[in-house]
Assembly symmetry: C2
Homo-oligomer: 885 residues x 2
C-alpha cells in the first residue's frame, strides 16, 4: 500500500528535509525539526501525491488516504493524551497547505479545527480560560468560513469591529469571553441567514472539508497566477499539514511571533524578529496590533518603546535563541522561523530558508562562507541569478505609494519617472530645457532615436519584446515598457488615455521596465548600489563556470558598460543600429533609392567612414576581447521614413519627388518582413552592402592594430539557410578583405561564421560547419520560426497559452528546450562532427536567462551573450550550471 500520510513528532518521524517534493517545504521541515528534537507540536502531513490523486478522482479524498489520516490522527491523540472531538479534553488541529516551493500567502490555513459548540466548553473548562476558548472558536469560524465554505468574511470581520466599537475597545484582546461568545452567535446567524449555511459541528467533517479545501486552494486564482509568475509547474500539487494546536492566545504568558536568524533586508548577522502577546496565527502579519521587537536589535522606529520578548519572557527567548542557532547551523542558511509560546513554553511551528533582498542574500552567502558554514560553491548556488537584476538598475522604492494604471511588456529593465512627451522632437526640446521626460508613443521607429536618447525611459502601446523600442532601449540600457495595449495614444492631440482617464503632455508618469508596470505620477526610485560582497561573490562564480559570457552591444558606450559588468567580448554587434543615427540615415536611404549598383556604391561610400569609426570605438573598448559583428540584417524598408513630413524631407534631400519616395516605400512593403528580404538575402541580391561593411570592419581593425590595440573581429553572416549561400557570401567578403590587406599592406586576424537562427540552418549545421569558424544561435528568430510565432504579434494570444499551461513558459523568455532546444542540440552535435573546432555561442535574448544559460552549458556551447545589464546574471547562471551539471 502506498504511503500517503507521513507522521511527525519528537517520538516518530517519517520524513526529513529532503522530501520537499512529497511533503512540501513546510512538512519536510516540520519532520526535520522533529528529528532535531526541537519542540514541535506533533502531527502528520498528507502528501502532494494525495493532492494529485484528489484532482484525479474528481476532487474526492480516496478511502485509502482517509484511512491513513484516521490512523495518524489516533496516533496524535495517543501522543497528546487528548481526543479529537472529545467534549472533556478535545484535541484541536491546524490544517495548513505546504507546497514544494514556497508560495507565501497563496494558499489556505485553518486553525483551531475541532472546535464546536460543545468542545469550546470543554476547552474553556479544561484551561479555565473561557475567553481563550471563545476567541479560538470565533477565529475558527472566521477561517473555516473563508477557506472552506468560500464565504466572503468581510461581513464577519465587520461584526467584530462593530462589537469592539460597541464595547469601546480598540484591541481584540480587550474583548471579554462573553463578548466573544456573543460574537460566535452573530457569526453563526450571519452564515445561516445570509448564506444558508449551518456551521458544521462534526470535527471529522471539519477535517475532511478542510483538507479538501487546502488541496483545492492549489488551483485558486492567486496561486495559479503566483505559479505563472514564478515558473512553478501546475502539476506539483500541495501537501496538507495537520498539526496539533498550541496556543499563543491563552493569556499574557502566551505569545506568537516570527523571527529571522539574520536581518532579511541587509543580511547583517543579527537576530531579528517580532511577536505579539496573547495572539494567534496571522495576527502578527495582519497588523491588528503593532508587533513588539523580540530584542533590542529588532527595534524599529515604530516599536522602539515596546518591551522585547527578551524582557517579557526571558526563558522562552533564551530557548528561541538556542533553537535559531541550531536551525541555522543545521540548515546552513538564514532561517525564517514561526513560533508560539504557550504558557511560557516555546513551540517551533515552522522554519524555512528566509526570503531576503539580493543585497542581504549576497551578504549572508559571503558571511556563511567566512563563518565556515558553507563552501564557496554552495554559496554560488544560494543566489537566484535573476535577483541580481535588482542590483544593477535603479528601481522603484518598494515603500512608496503607487497607482498602477496599466501593465505592458517588461522590455528593458530599470525604473523611469518623468514628464510625458509624445514626439521625439519634444523629447529633445524638453530634455535640452533640463526636463526629465518619458517618451510615450504608439510605437517607435528609427527616426525616434534622438528622442529616445533624450528620454529617461520609453513607453509604447504596440510592439513586442523585439520591437524597435525594446531592442534599442535595451541596447541603450534605458528602461522600456513596450506593447502596453491598454494605452490609447493620440499623438496629434498629445494625450494618453487609460481606462477612460486622460493624461496630457507634461503630466508625470512612472514605469518599471523590469515588470512592465506603469504608474500615475512620480514614484520615487532607489539607485543601484554594488557592494564588496557582490564583487567577492562574482569572483567565486567566475572561478567555476565553463561558459564564457559576452555581451550584445552596438556602441562603444554599451561595450564599456558590459566590460565593467564582466563581459568577455561582444557576442552580437548589430551593425544596423549604427545606421539609424540622423547623420547616417540619409545615406542609408540614398542607398535604398539607388537604381543601380554604381549609385548604391556611392551611397555606401558615404556610410563607410561612419561604420569604420563605430568599429574603431568598439575595438578600443574591447582592447583585445573578441567582437562578433553581424552584417546587415533587417529588411531595407525598416530604414525608410513613414510620415508624410519625413517622406517630403527625404524627397527634397535626394532631389526626387515625394511620389517616388512613396512608391519605393510601397514596393519594399512586405507581407511578412520577418520572413522576407533580409539578412544574407540582401547580400545575395546586393553584394556591395556587405562588402562595404567588411571593409569598414577590417580597415578599423588594421588602424587599431597599427595603434597597438589588439583586435579580434568575428564577422557573422545572418539568416543562413544553406551552406552554398554562406560560402558564396564568405568568398565575396574574403576577397574584399584581401583587397583591403593589399591596399593597406597590413593584415589582421579575423574569423568568419554564421548565425543559426532558422530551423533549416540548424538542420543543415553539419554541412554549414565545414565552412565556418563559428556558430551563434539567434534564438529569437529561431523561436519565432520554430513555433511559427511572431513575437510582435503574439501579445494577443501568447498570454492565454501560458495561463492555460499549454506552454509552461513564454518561449521568448526561456528557451523551449524540447522544440528549439532539439534543433540547437542537433546543430551542435552535427556541427562538431564535421568541424570539431567550430566555436558555438548564443546571442538571442535567452543568453541572459538563467534556465537558458544552463541549457547552453549542457549542450556544450562555448559562450552566451546578453545585453550589458544581464552580464552578471549570465555569469552567475553559468557558474550554477557548471556546479549542477
Amino acid at each position: 500500500m502506498k504511503q500517503w500520510v507521513y507522521k511527525f513528532s519528537a517520538e516518530q518521524t517519517d520524513g526529513n528535509k529532503d522530501m520537499k517534493a512529497l511533503l512540501g517545504g513546510k512538512g519536510a521541515n516540520l519532520a526535520e525539526m522533529c528529528s532535531m528534537k526541537l519542540s514541535v507540536p506533533p502531527g502528520f502531513t498528507v502528501s502532494t501525491e494525495a493532492c494529485l490523486d484528489f484532482y484525479k478522482t474528481n476532487k474526492e479524498i480516496s478511502k485509502e488516504i482517509k484511512d491513513q489520516v484516521l490512523e495518524s490522527l489516533s496516533w496524535v491523540e495517543k501522543l497528546t493524551g487528548k481526543k479529537f472531538g472529545d467534549v472533556e479534553n478535545p484535541l484541536l488541529f491546524s490544517v495548513r497547505s505546504g507546497a514544494r516551493a514556497s508560495m507565501p500567502g497563496m494558499m489556505d490555513t485553518v486553525l483551531n479545527l475541532g472546535l464546536n459548540d460543545k468542545t469550546v466548553q470543554g476547552i474553556a473548562k479544561k484551561t479555565g480560560n473561557p475567553r481563550f476558548a471563545w476567541d479560538s472558536y470565533r477565529r475558527f469560524i472566521q477561517m473555516f468560513s473563508n477557506v472552506v465554505l468560500g464565504v466572503n468574511t468581510s461581513h464577519l470581520e465587520s461584526n467584530l469591529e462593530d462589537l469592539k466599537e460597541a464595547r469601546g475597545v480598540h484591541e481584540d484582546t480587550a474583548l471579554t469571553a462573553a463578548d466573544l461568545e456573543e460574537l460566535v452567535k452573530v457569526y453563526k446567524s450571519v452564515l445561516l441567514e445570509d448564506h444558508g449555511i449551518v456551521f458544521p459541528q462534526d470535527p471529522m467533517e471539519q477535517l475532511w472539508r478542510s483538507i479538501g479545501a487546502v488541496f483545492g486552494s492549489w488551483n485558486n486564482n492567486r496561486a495559479m497566477k503566483y505559479r505563472e509568475m514564478n515558473n512553478i509547474p501546475h502539476d506539483w500539487g500541495t501537501a496538507v499539514n495537520v498539526q496539533s494546536m498550541v496556543f499563543g492566545n491563552m493569556g499574557d504568558t502566551c505569545a506568537t511571533g516570527v523571527c529571522f536568524t539574520r536581518d532579511p533586508s541587509t543580511g547583517e548577522k543579527k537576530f531579528f524578529g517580532e511577536f505579539l502577546v496573547n495572539a494567534q496565527g496571522e495576527d502578527v502579519v495582519a497588523g491588528i496590533r503593532t508587533p513588539q521587537p523580540i530584542n533590542n536589535d529588532s527595534k524599529m522606529e515604530s516599536n522602539k518603546h515596546h518591551k522585547t520578548l527578551e524582557e517579557v519572557m526571558p526563558k522562552a527567548y533564551a530557548d528561541l535563541v538556542e533553537d535559531y542557532k541550531m536551525l541555522e547551523r543545521h540548515y546552513k542558511d538564514m532561517q525564517d522561523i514561526e513560533f508560539t509560546i504557550e504558557n511560557g513554553k516555546l513551540w517551533i511551528l515552522q522554519t524555512r530558508n528566509a526570503k531576503r533582498t539580493v543585497n542581504a542574500a549576497l551578504k549572508v552567502a559571503v558571511d556563511l562562507v567566512a563563518e565556515g558554514m558553507i563552501t564557496e560553491k554552495e554559496a554560488i548556488l544560494r543566489i537566484s541569478p535573476e535577483d541580481l537584476n535588482q542590483l544593477l538598475h535603479p528601481r522603484l522604492d518598494p515603500k512608496a505609494k503607487k497607482t498602477l494604471i496599466a501593465t505592458g511588456l517588461p522590455a528593458s529593465p530599470g525604473a523611469a519617472s518623468g514628464q510625458m512627451v509624445f514626439t521625439s522632437a519634444h523629447a529633445e526640446e524638453w530634455h535640452k530645457a533640463g526636463k526629465k521626460v518619458v517618451l510615450v508613443r504608439a510605437e517607435t521607429s528609427p527616426e525616434d532615436i534622438g528622442g529616445m536618447v533624450a528620454s529617461t525611459g520609453i513607453l509604447t502601446a504596440r510592439g513586442g519584446m523585439t520591437s524597435h523600442a525594446a531592442v534599442v532601449a535595451r541596447g541603450m540600457g534605458k528602461p522600456c515598457v513596450a506593447g502596453c495595449t491598454a494605452l490609447v495614444i493620440n499623438e496629434k492631440e498629445k494625450t494618453l488615455t487609460v481606462k477612460g482617464k486622460v493624461y496630457k503632455e507634461g503630466d508625470y508618469i512612472t514605469f518599471d521596465g523590469a515588470n512592465g508596470e506603469v504608474y500615475e505620477g512620480v514614484v520615487p526610485t532607489i539607485e543601484a548600489s554594488i557592494t564588496a560582497d557582490f564583487a567577492t561573490f562574482m569572483k567565486w562564480a567566475d572561478g567555476v563556470r565553463r561558459l564564457k559570457v559576452r555581451t550584445n552591444a552596438d556602441t562603444p558606450e554599451d561595450t564599456k558598460t558590459a566590460i565593467q559588468f564582466g563581459a568577455q567580448g561582444i557576442g552580437l554587434c548589430r551593425t544596423e543600429h549604427m545606421f539609424f543615427a540622423p547623420e547616417r540615415i540619409l545615406a542609408v536611404r540614398e542607398m535604398i533609392f539607388a537604381e543601380n549598383e554604381k549609385d548604391r556604391k556611392k551611397a555606401l561610400d558615404k556610410l563607410l567612414p561612419f561604420q569604420r569609426s563605430d568599429f574603431a570605438g568598439i575595438f578600443k573598448e574591447l582592447n583585445g576581447l573578441p567582437a562578433n559583428i553581424r552584417l546587415l540584417d533587417p529588411p531595407l524598408h525598416e530604414f525608410l521614413p513613414h510620415s508624410d513630413k519625413d517622406q517630403e524631407e527625404l524627397a527634397s534631400a535626394l532631389g526626387i519627388n515625394v511620389k517616388a519616395v512613396k512608391e519605393r516605400n510601397d514596393a519594399l512593403h512586405e507581407f511578412n518582413p520577418m520572413l522576407g528580404h533580409r539578412g544574407c538575402r540582401l547580400a545575395v541580391t546586393y553584394p556591395e552592402i556587405y562588402l562595404m561593411q567588411v571593409r569598414a570592419i577590417i580597415e578599423a581593425a588594421i588602424d587599431a592594430d597599427k595603434a597597438g590595440i589588439k583586435v579580434l573581429p568575428e564577422i557573422m553572416i545572418p539568416l543562413i539557410t544553406e551552406v552554398r549561400e554562406y560560402s558564396m557570401i564568405k568568398d565575396e567578403c574574403k576577397a574584399e578583405i584581401e583587397r583591403v590587406f593589399k591596399e593597406k599592406n597590413h593584415t589582421v586576424k579575423y574569423k568568419m561564421g554564421t548565425m543559426l537562427e532558422l530551423p533549416r540552418a540548424c538542420i543543415m549545421a553539419g554541412e554549414i560547419a565545414k565552412e565556418v569558424e563559428f556558430f551563434s544561435f539567434g534564438t529569437n528568430d529561431l523561436t519565432q520560426t520554430t513555433f511559427g510565432l511572431s513575437r510582435d504579434d503574439a501579445g494577443k494570444f501568447l498570454p492565454s497559452y501560458t495561463q492555460k499551461g499549454i506552454y509552461p513558459r513564454d518561449p521568448f523568455v526561456s528557451i523551449d528546450q524540447d522544440g528549439v532546444g532539439f534543433l540547437m542540440k542537433h546543430a551542435v552535435s552535427e556541427g562538431k562532427k564535421t568541424n570539431a573546432a567550430v566555436y558555438a555561442g548564443i546571442c538571442g535574448e535567452h543568453g541572459g536567462e538563467p534556465q537558458s544559460v544552463e541549457f547552453c552549458h549542457k549542450i556544450g556551447l562555448e559562450y552566451v551573450s546578453c545585453s550589458p545589464f544581464r552580464v552578471p546574471i549570465a555569469r552567475l547562471a553559468a557558474a550554477q550550471a557548471a556546479l549542477r551539471n
Copy 2:
C-alpha cells in the same frame, strides 16, 4: 591513371548506353551504336569528368587529358587511314557537346575541324570536288568563329547573303567553288579587320580550343537558363564528342537528315523524317531550304511535292529503315535519329529517345506494351507526370504567333484569353454582358470572389504562389498568373503599363498559367482532350502505386472534378474559403466585431447553416470517400474590408460608425500575419469558432448518414505546436460533437487529427501522435517557417537563389528534402513509434509535384493531396515512386 577519353568505332568501343553520366547521352549512344555494328564514323568522347576537371583547373585542359586525346586521335587516324592536318589526305572532325540530359540546341558544335588554307586544297584534290571543300571550309570558319572565337557571326552570314545576291542565286548550293573560295577570303578579312583575329591554321590549336569552347558552353547563359527550367543540376558538366567527319555536302549523292521512328506529334506508328540533298549539319534545322520528306508518310502540306529519300536514294533509305527498326527494338523506345549519306553510303550520327507531345508519349507507351516491346511497368516510367498537365487544361496553340510582354508565377495552370478589367465589379458586369474577361489586379482580396468567378483567368502583379489569387484560382480551376512584377497597374485610371506600353480596360490579353507567360492580344487556345490511351495508362499506374491520392477541394464542384480525375477523397478542405462568399462575409465580420462571446456566438449561429450545407454538398459528392476538413486557419483580419467604401458598407450593416470599423482593422493588424493569431490559436482565444465548425460538420454528416450517404469526416486542427494545445482543443471539439450526437440521437464515425506545418510540430510529433488519429503535412507553411521565407515576399530574391544554384530548386515547388524533408522524416518515424496507427498525408502544394510525391512515398506517408487538376499527375508520380523504390 584515370580514363578521361573513351573511344568508339565498329572495331573497338569503350562505352555503352548506360554510361550517360560519364559520356553524355550522345557519347553513350554513339558507343552503343558502334557495339551494334551500325555505320558510325569512328571517334572518341572526352568525359564529363574532364569537363568538371576543366572548371577546377581554371579552364585549362590538363596534360593527362590532352595525352589521352592525342592517343585516341592517332587511333582514329589509323582506323580511317587519314591524318589530322595532313595536306594530302586530311582527317576532319566534328566536335560536339553531349550532356547527361538532353539539352537540345543549348550548347555548341563545330564541324569540319582540321580545315585550313592547306588542307582545304588537299580535300579538294582528293575528292575532286573543290566546291565541297570550300563549302566545308567556309562553314567551319563560320562555326568556329561563333563557337570558339565568340564572334557575332551575323556579319559573316550577311556576307554569304550578299554573295548570293551578287550571284543572283537563292540557295547556298547554287554557289560555285570559286564563290565559296572568295567567301572564305572575305570571312578571314572580316575576322582580321573587325576583330583583330587571325583565323588559326594549326589543326591541333583548332581542336584544343574547340574542346575548351564546348566545355565552356556548359555555362553559357542559355544553357544555365535551360538547366534551371528543367531542374538539371549545374554540376553535371558536358562531355565532348570528337568524331571523324562524313559529308552530306559532297554533291547530289550526298544528304543529311533527321528521322523519328514514330510520329512525334501523334505517336502513330509510322516512320517519319526529313532530309536535304547536298547539305551539312544544321541545314535541316536552320530552314535554309525546305527539307524533303523521307517517305510518303512524312509528307506535309509544305513539302508534299518534293521527292522522298525513298525515291532518290532507295538503297540508303532501305538501310535507314533497317537501322531505325533495329534501334527502336534495341532501345525499346521511339528514337530520334540523325544521319548523313555520303556518296550513297548511310552513316548514323546520333540516336536518342525522341521528344514527343504527351499524347504521343501515351500512345507510344501503350502501343509498345501492345507490341510486347515493354512491360506495363516500363510504360508507366516512360511518361513524365508533369507532362500530363498539358492534357488537362486548355493550352495556347503552340503554332500561334505570340508577343510575350511579361512573365509571372505560374500560379494556376491553363491558358486564358480575354478583355482586361481592373475591378471585380466590371468583371461581373462585362461577364453578364457576355464578354470574356481577364481580371487584372495588383492583388486580390476576398471581396474579389465574384469578379474571379466571372473571369476566364486572373492576373496579379503582387503576391506569390499562395497569395489569395493563386489559392482561390487553383481551387476554382481557373488559370492564374500571380506576382507578375513587371506589370504596373493603375486601378483608378484602369490602365496596365508594361515596359512603357500602356494597355486600357477592354484591351485583349492572354496568359498561360502553366508557365507564367503573359502575351499581348488574343492567342488562340487548344482544348484539352483525353484519350483512351490515357485511361488505359492511368489504370496501369493505379495498379502499382501504394500512395493514395486525394484532392484539396473546398466546394462540391471541385470535389466532383477531382473525383473524375481519380481522387480518393479530400485531403484538405479549407473551411475559410467558404467564408468569403458575399452572403456570408457579413456574418463573419459580425463575428469579428463581436465584443464578447455571446455576440460572437450569435454571429456564428448565422454562419452555421451555410457551413452545414457546404459540407452536405461535399459529403454527397464524396459518397463515402474520406473528407479531411481543416478548421478555420487564416487570421481574422483577412476577412475585413479594406477599401473605404466597403468599410462604410460594413459600418452601416453592423449599425456602428465607420471609425470603429477602421479601428478594429487597425487593432487586428499584424506585423507578420503568417506567424500571427491564426489556426488553432484562434480556438485557444475564441473556442466558439471551432465549436460552430465541428457542429456544422457533424450535423451535415448525420443528415447525410440518415439519407443513406456514407460519410467519413476527418476533422483537422491547424497550426499545432504542442500536444497540450491539440488535446485541449480536441477535448472541446469532442464535447461539442457528443452534444450534437445527443441532440440528434444519432452518431457517425469521424476522426480527429492535426496538420504538421510548423517545425516544432514535426519535432514534437512523437508526443502529438499519442493524441491524434492522423497527421497531414502542411508543407507550404512548413517550408516557409523552416526556411524563414515568406512565399509572398520571396519574389524579390528567390529567383537569384535558384539562378545562382544556392537552392537547386524552388523549395515551394519541390519539397526541400534535406531541410523540410528532415523534419518530415523525423515526424513520421517518431509519430509511428508512439502511435503505429497514425495515418499520415501531405496537403501542401507539393502534394502534386512528382519529386515530392516520390519523397512522400519513400518516407512512408499514406497519401498525398493536391488540387483537382493535379490528381492524375500525382497518381502517375505515385506509381513511378512505387516502381523506383
